[in-house]
Symmetry: C2
Subunit: 201 residues, 2 copies
């Protein structure tokens, strides 16, 4: 099966989650090639766009996720624009984009008081088979945004995000701890059942 992504951290995270679910499936990264434009208005649309394109390119069953941060005080954004919240930033590395996006969200929330800093990571995960079967599931992790980054783990907005019931940010949790509560963990936990059914695993 192909994961419609070239993000190594995500590949590692998803392989671990699928192994925990006991799924006997080899997950490979998408081969090099042009990225399909993620122009969907929702996480689900983007996940389907990516999974369909990966099937088209590889002929393999494909799983794709689209995830992002929804911030209450930003009307649910950055949302589908999470990875591009500061704009396209041509030539920037992933770490530079993450740093720019984190800095922008913090700057935008400068005057937003504690009681309105609620937020959630949301994940839509799609499976598409070469025969054309399609499924989408969702997962969510609620929390709130701090006023400065904390922790070196994870990626994206993890250093800003304090999950409900935790005293460490997503970037301070150990990978297994994060999987157990994360939006992606919740979505992929449901995906395991979908994959068993669609792929007869």
């Amino acid at each position: 099966m192909v994961l419609a992504s070239r993000n190594d951290a995500k590949l590692v995270e998803l392989r671990r989650i699928l192994a925990l679910a006991g799924l006997d499936v080899e997950l490979v990264a998408l081969p090099d090639g042009p990225d399909v434009p993620e122009t969907g208005a929702t996480f689900a649309e983007n996940a389907l766009i990516k999974a369909r394109d990966a099937v088209r390119v590889t002929g393999l069953p494909a799983v794709a996720d689209d995830s992002g941060l929804t911030v209450d005080a930003l009307g649910g954004m950055p949302g589908v624009l999470s990875a591009r919240w500061s704009g396209p930033l041509p030539g920037a590395s992933r770490a530079e984009r993450d740093a720019a996006n984190n800095a922008l969200v913090l700057a935008q929330l400068t005057d937003v008081p504690e009681e309105r800093r609620g937020s959630a990571f949301v994940c839509a995960a799609a499976v598409v088979t070469p025969a054309g079967a399609e499924r989408v599931v969702h997962g969510e992790m609620r929390g709130r945004l701090l006023r400065e980054p904390r922790g070196d783990g994870g990626f994206g907005y993890d250093p800003l995000f304090l999950p409900d019931g935790q005293n460490r940010t997503s970037a301070q949790l150990r990978p297994a701890e994060k999987d157990a509560i994360s939006h992606r963990g919740h979505a992929f936990g449901q995906l395991a059942a979908v994959l068993r059914e669609l792929l007869a695993l």
Copy 2:
């Protein structure tokens, strides 16, 4: 009556609108002093916060507006954060802030196709009297966002905004043309009746 703002362009625009409505009222700008934090979650809350503070400081009846751009593909944002969409930008001039905010919105919408570039300018206008009477009215101007700025007039996001039914941006319309269709024009058109009642003008 005091306008709870130190934005000269806005003062000029509102004086013209009130004169057009035939209101015999002298509109003065807010005297120098600390700005009240605009921490409301809505345009109406912010307009009331500013008008109440202007009454407290001056003892005069106060009118305040809070306006902003709502972008469909940004979940209704920049919204109440319109003037601070790039963050506080300490030391930046108003023109520099406007330029930074315009550039950021354009960058965020890079991959957003034409059919999802709908937008609206929204204005909430509040009147508060020293006796404690309070009213809020709203105005809206629908349109869509272009891919580059056009025109030198207006302020804020005007150069990006093509009002419905127009072939010039808000920054290309003459002031009187803009008043006739603008969110602020619509709100202040309603405000004239409110002022006549509350202030017995």
